[in-house]
């Protein structure tokens, strides 16, 4: 007898199959010719704000750089190029910028020097009041450029007066906002100003829609004065996990993926129509030693480092020999990164120097240096400080990077060989920031800087000053995480600010880099790499910015305006020479930063077929085993 239940189940299944079929790609409405061309960019970093003065994330800078122009934008190698101003001349301390004739905001209003003066004046007012605009990431650029005054005598002229004659005024990260919209805001209120989409800007694409933690959509600015990219819209999608982002890139739903991890990047290297990039990052990962008291003799009652040894440059120097930077790059970073040394990353080529007296990994030398400096071993093999106490160091790190605990495990092992114990603790970034603060950080009771070593990282600006200032005495209580103070360094810093020429500045920067390397308040473990991957079957014309960086999320947004239609291009640009995957150090070096895309002919379809077959076979085996098992035991079950 035919079971009515079976009949019903059959009908339900048939209905389900129909719905399923209706949702398959063929059933979806075909893309019409008028559909906008969308460039889709994926990142695991969430956009925190669309107010340029309230964002601290790289993706926030990308969003406002797409929407707004800087007075001078960044070129392919972070050099100043025309932006809101199309030309400029310098006369002693005055730089005269010419604002583009006839430029309009995306809402059609004229864009003039009044907008530029308004935007820069916000920072100047804050500097004068010894405070910041919003979260304080914009106005330090104006301060660092030595700007003292801005003046806009006519709609096409802006005169910026500086107290030195450096080129930093041309690398000032100040978005030019439309005065006709924000004129009521002051330096006190701008940080809290409510920016809502759609935004009005002069950049190539203006923010049209933002769904927190989901996506930000930018549409082409019809009044943009520069080159027009192939894409009509740019969508930055925020992912909670890089796994999904990478799969989206593979499926073609994304055109660009920022920061896949090393394993994912290696897997993507064999993916058809996908090109991987290993860009040198403008930053590093370091061990920062708590040197509080160095140069000042100060102590923190109930806080500070656990041993005075950390204030001794000879002790820190010896520890430097015990850490193998190359192993960390190979084993922790999967080969993507460069060994660290001085405090100006190599990506800032003209300012970086290698140390005069480099330390090579040598545990035995580290031991003998410690012995010579008066840090002897006791009978149990523990290294003692000069007070006769076994040295046991507390390493703290944030939970923001999966590589930090891996690096810490290696360091624990190496320090252990010296007779120095190391305990490691992971904190969330905010708690760790509070923990690192000394009394100078504001609250003398709560800020105790109770740690010995901090494992974390920094990233900088096109100018090295942002990274160099971390080691100034007045950074203690602020950005300083080694709490290092050396008046000699501060003097050099001030001198380089006023250096009469680039050569003179370079010499001073070289001295500063060597001083910090020799004194070793930091052990820079590695210069991180920026990993990225993009598809080559929809857009062509990808350019790394700078040439040893990645196409997006570096400096400026020029790259968004030069993309072309890959299907219309006669041929793909030739793949760049590449370092072998996994090759240490060199993988991220300039000129060897990109892996070839078409290294294999394996199609994703055949991969999928293999996976499908694999899953079916696995299910069949499992099912078979269950059946066999049931048959054996079935007799007793029926009892």
């Amino acid at each position: 007898m035919r079971s009515p239940m079976r009949g019903r189940a059959g009908r339900a299944l048939a209905a389900l199959a129909l719905v399923f079929a209706a949702l398959l790609p063929g059933a979806a409405a075909p893309a019409a010719a008028a559909d906008p061309v969308v460039l889709r960019v994926g990142t695991t970093q969430d956009l925190d704000s669309i107010n340029p003065y309230a964002t601290v994330e790289v993706v926030g800078f990308e969003a406002f750089a797409l929407t707004y122009n800087l007075l001078t934008d960044f070129g392919e190698n972070a050099e100043p190029i025309p932006g809101f101003a199309d030309s400029w001349t310098r006369e002693a301390h005055d730089v005269k910028f010419h604002i583009r004739t006839g430029m309009k905001w995306s809402d059609g209003q004229p864009a003039t020097s009044a907008d530029a003066c308004f935007s820069w004046q916000l920072s100047l007012d804050a500097i004068k009041a010894d405070t910041n605009v919003g979260l304080g990431y914009i106005d330090p650029n104006v301060k660092d450029a030595g700007v003292t005054k801005v003046d806009c005598p006519d709609p096409e002229t802006m005169i910026v007066t500086t107290d030195d004659q450096s080129d930093r005024v041309f690398q000032t990260y100040v978005p030019i906002l439309p005065k006709h919209i924000w004129s009521k805001e002051t330096y006190k209120t701008m940080g809290d100003a409510k920016f809502t989409a759609p935004l009005v800007g002069t950049g190539p694409y203006t923010l049209a829609e933002w769904k927190t933690s989901q996506f930000a959509r930018f549409v082409r600015n019809p009044n943009y004065w520069g080159p027009k990219g192939f894409e009509d819209e740019v969508v930055i999608q925020f992912f909670k996990t890089p796994d999904t982002m990478v799969q989206s890139l593979k499926s073609g739903e994304l055109d660009y993926a920022r920061d896949p991890n090393a394993q994912q990047l290696k897997a993507l290297q064999s993916e058809p129509n996908v090109k991987t990039v290993v860009g040198a990052a403008n930053g590093w990962t370091q061990l920062a030693f708590n040197t509080y008291g160095t140069g000042t003799g100060k102590t923190i009652p109930g806080g500070g480092a656990s041993t005075k040894a950390l204030q001794d440059a000879a002790f820190r120097d010896a520890l430097g020999y015990a850490v193998d930077h190359k192993t960390l790059i190979d084993r922790v970073l999967g080969g993507f990164g460069d060994p660290g040394d001085t405090i100006v990353p190599p990506v800032l080529g003209q300012w970086h120097v290698t140390p005069d007296k480099p330390r090579a990994f040598d545990i035995e030398k580290a031991k003998s240096l410690l012995d010579a400096a008066g840090y002897k071993l006791d009978s149990s093999g523990n290294r003692l400080d000069k007070e006769g106490k076994p040295i046991s160091l507390r390493l703290v790190m944030p939970d923001s990077d999966e590589n930090y605990p891996k690096a810490a495990a290696f360091i624990k092992e190496w320090y252990g060989q010296l007779g120095i114990k190391l305990s490691t603790t992971v904190y969330d970034s905010d708690t760790l920031t509070s923990l690192l603060l000394p009394p100078e950080g504001g609250d003398p009771k709560a800020n105790l800087a109770k740690y010995d070593i901090e494992l974390w990282g920094w990233s900088g600006n096109p100018d090295p000053n942002a990274l160099l200032q971390i080691f100034r005495c007045d950074a203690i209580g602020g950005t300083s995480d080694s709490l290092y103070c050396n008046p000699e360094y501060d003097k050099l810093y001030d001198q380089q600010l006023k250096a009469p020429s680039a050569d003179a500045r370079h010499q001073l920067l070289a001295q500063m880099q060597n001083l910090i390397y020799d004194q070793a308040p930091y052990d820079i473990l590695y210069y991180d790499a920026n990993l990225a991957a993009y598809r080559t079957d929809k857009f062509a014309g990808w350019v790394n910015m700078p040439s040893n960086g990645t196409p997006f999320f570096s400096y400026g947004t020029l790259n968004y305006t030069v993309l072309t239609d890959a299907t219309a291009a006669p041929s793909q640009p030739p793949a760049e020479a590449s370092a072998a995957p996994g090759a240490s150090g060199a993988a991220a070096s300039p000129g060897a930063s990109s892996a070839p895309a078409d290294t294999t002919n394996t199609s994703s379809g055949s991969n999928t077929a293999l996976i499908v077959i694999g899953v079916i076979v696995a299910l069949a085996i499992v099912g078979g085993l269950i059946l066999a098992n049931r048959r054996r035991t079935g007799g007793t079950e029926e009892e």
Partner: protein
């Protein structure tokens, strides 16, 4: 049903919700890190600015009683405060935006899982030792033990990245999204398939296993023997006698599970970038967005309490012995 029984259950539920509100408040204050410290990622912030931020968010006032009293009073009026992460948007709005994607995904997932899980379980229990029982129970057990991530990722790899049948993530297309209602519905449907299948697969196992045991129990009851002796057909025995009795314990399980619909399946939502309450919880947690976290947890707790209340009431209706 007696009004005393109902009154007792209602007052229990109300008391539980009050306890939850207080616990909810204290729990988030006991967590390490503080919201204003987020701003300390800014190396240039001054102590004055920090204090201004604390004052603006009311974090400078004593935790108990000031902040607690404020919280209870505003919660009672449906004001859950303003989100720190979402540009000062009211928490109620933030939660409302994320609620319906979760209800859609998890609600449908539950529905599919209940239908398929109970059918497989009932059939497997009825035809014990048959092919459906052997294979179905085995697969149910495997699915029961698999986290959503393990189910979802292979689905993405095969059906999205490999075969390009469905999108990998999100709830709708962004940029170039269809403008007509039918197109938008199809677009939503296409985005829904893989997360829905993942959630349903993850839930089918438990329903199927429990239903199978319930059917097995009823099979040995005297009334089933009587039914068989009366010569009632196999199908009628199952539909009219075994199923209604086996469904009794399922009511409780389903009701409690439905309470969790609003919580979402965090890992499933993360894997598929589904903009629901699960994703919202993770976003709010990483931003130390206390008001949103409190709101989400309050909603979840109240939903579970209410679902339990419904289960109690329905059980009372179905089984008079419970009321006594």
């Amino acid at each position: 049903m007696g009004s005393r029984y109902l009154g007792r259950k209602l007052s229990q539920a109300a008391l539980t919700i009050v306890a939850i509100v207080i616990l909810n408040f204290l729990l988030f204050r006991a967590m390490p890190g503080s919201p204003e410290r987020i701003l300390l990622r800014n190396p240039h912030i001054t102590q004055e600015q920090l204090e201004a931020v604390r004052a603006r968010w009311g974090l400078d006032r004593p935790l108990i009683p000031d902040q607690l009293v404020d919280y209870i009073a505003s919660t009672a009026t449906g004001d859950l405060g303003y989100s720190l992460k979402f540009q000062g948007k009211p928490v109620v709005d933030v939660i409302a935006d994320s609620l319906w994607p979760t209800v859609l995904l998890i609600g449908l997932g539950e529905l599919v899982a209940i239908t398929i899980g109970l059918s497989i379980g009932a059939y497997a229990g009825w035809k014990r030792g048959g092919v459906v029982d052997r294979v179905g129970s085995g697969i149910s057990l495997i699915l029961y033990s698999m986290p959503y991530f393990v189910i979802g990722m292979p689905l993405i790899i095969i059906f999205a990245a490999g075969l390009h049948w469905f999108p990998t993530s999100g709830m709708t297309s962004v940029g170039g999204r269809p403008t007509d209602p039918i197109g938008q519905l199809v677009d939503l449907g296409r985005h829904l398939v893989l997360p829905l299948v993942t959630v349903a697969l993850g839930l089918i196992g438990s329903y199927s296993i429990i239903m199978r045991s319930a059917i097995l129990e009823t099979r040995s009851e005297d009334y089933m023997t009587t039914a068989r002796a009366k010569g009632i057909s196999d199908v009628r025995q199952l539909r009219s006698h075994a199923l209604p009795n086996a469904l009794l314990p399922m009511v409780t399980i389903i009701a409690i599970n439905l309470g969790y619909v609003v919580a979402g399946a965090i890992t499933a939502e993360i894997v598929f970038n589904w903009p629901g309450l699960g994703s919202l919880t993770v976003t709010a947690l990483s931003a130390r967005d206390y008001p949103v976290l409190q709101g989400v947890f309050l909603l979840l707790s109240v939903a579970v309490v209410l679902a339990n209340l419904v289960a109690d009431v329905v059980y009372g209706l179905l089984d008079p012995r419970v009321r006594s």
